[in-house]
Symmetry: C2
Subunit: 242 residues, 2 copies
DNA sequence: GAGCACCTTCTTGTACACAAGTTTGTGTGC
DNA sequence: GCACACAAACTTGTGTACAAGAAGGTGCTC
């Protein structure tokens, strides 16, 4: 497995299940439930419900829910339960825009540096490989694609920017999951990432930004095709898996 | 009083004291305590302490503290109390950078629109006035300056970008407060804001961005001068006021 | 049958009690 | 005087009880 762990600088917004803290565990599980469509946008639920399902009291559940609320995954209805925030396509469009802005700015900063940071070496090793060495597993590739963009921003050296970008990436992830039925643009992704990297290494900010923009625009186009019907199918699938 | 309330789109991260929710009230009060240096960076305190001072139980206090933690104003020390996050100048430098990036992007988008949004009219009424009509009260001006930048971003029409920018503005506010001893650059601010506005209205993105960048750079320069000594004085002042 | 008042039930909001673990002070042995 | 063990005092983490209020069903009136 290729290891590309995020430099854990930020306030523990890591997923997974950490033993120490019940609230943190619940937080991670709930978020995963949302990503995996076991909890679908618009679904309503109560604190007690979650507490019983997870086998803990309401206290840590509430703590987890408040965090998810702040990150706008769920919302509380005053004394009337909670709801997974319904899909709002404008919201995702906006997030894509901000993401593009941040990544382009990061690329520009990278081109301005005299010495390229070490992270770029890692990216080269992954994306600038001969066609025969390209990976094919979709899940791995999807994760690597996400990391490519995150690492570009991290490499620029502004950790607040990286944190914000990371949050955005996570928020977008849920809608990218819906796109999994399509044949992935594996070759295109390799080519495009490779070109962006090369342009950065050659310190040509304009083309690098252009290509990056086009590349993000492509995945945004896919997202635009996502309809409420796909959401419905996802619900069916998720229930089938249970 | 000039009214320029933020379009309340986001998740209630408003300050002030709202009656409905104890936790929200505590949240606002704690944040204000931090901004007013009644709680100084590095100060340690406990949940019980805050609960008693505010006359409520620990539950809403904890909820408020977790929110402030997520927004990186405070941090919890495992079973060992809480602490106001110590000053980290790199942190503020990074925030200034992201702020510049977002505002420049907003300006570019504004110049691309065929019809200018209504918010710009409000800004014109405030900043494009004859010298005789300029305000002088520092507190008002400081608030208006903050709103100028926020409204630029809001006018660009991307509400996620506006939310992120708003959070950043709030985080920077605490350090700008330290700068209050200096004579404010009242005239310069009027001139610079005016020039940025005019450039936008004339749809000249490059000069608009340049001037905005220089303007932000100026306030960043002030912030750079802030030393730990000023923090110390602020503590003295705050204690004197109590 | 339609509309309205009421009441039950369920929800989150808040307070409080206890558990788990850290820090700090105290006393003892040397 | 110093080092170490121990205990007491706190601190946050978690569970639980109760309060305030919303929603929806039920029965009454017309």
């Amino acid at each position: 497995m290729i290891e590309l762990s995020r430099t854990d600088s930020g306030n523990a917004s890591r997923s997974a299940t950490r033993a120490a803290n019940l609230a943190e565990r619940i937080y991670g599980q709930l978020k995963q439930d949302i990503f995996d469509f076991r909890l679908l946008p618009g679904d309503r639920f109560t604190e007690t419900e979650v507490a019983e399902r997870m086998g803990v009291s309401r206290t840590p559940v509430r703590e987890a829910l408040f965090r998810l609320q702040r990150e706008s995954y769920v919302e509380v209805l005053y004394r009337n339960g909670w709801r997974v925030r319904p899909f709002n396509f404008e919201y995702f469009e906006d997030l894509y825009d901000v993401r593009t802005i941040l990544e382009c700015a990061a690329v520009r900063r990278l081109c301005d540096r005299e010495k390229m940071p070490a992270q770029l070496e890692d990216l080269k090793r992954i994306w600038l490989v001969p066609e025969s060495a390209r990976l094919e597993d979709m899940n791995t590739l999807s994760a690597l694609d996400e990391r490519f963009h995150e690492m570009l921003v991290e490499a620029a050296g502004n950790s607040e920017m990286a944190l914000i970008h990371h949050d955005i990436t996570e928020k977008i992830r849920i809608i990218r999951r819906l796109d999994f039925t399509k044949p992935p643009r594996v070759d295109a992704t390799y080519v495009e990432h490779g070109m962006v990297l090369k342009a950065i290494l050659e310190r040509r900010p304009e083309p690098a930004q252009m290509m990056l923009k086009a590349h993000i625009e492509e995945s945004r186009r896919e997202v635009r095709k996502i309809t409420l019907h796909m959401l419905h199918s996802a619900r069916q699938d998720a229930q089938g898996r249970e």
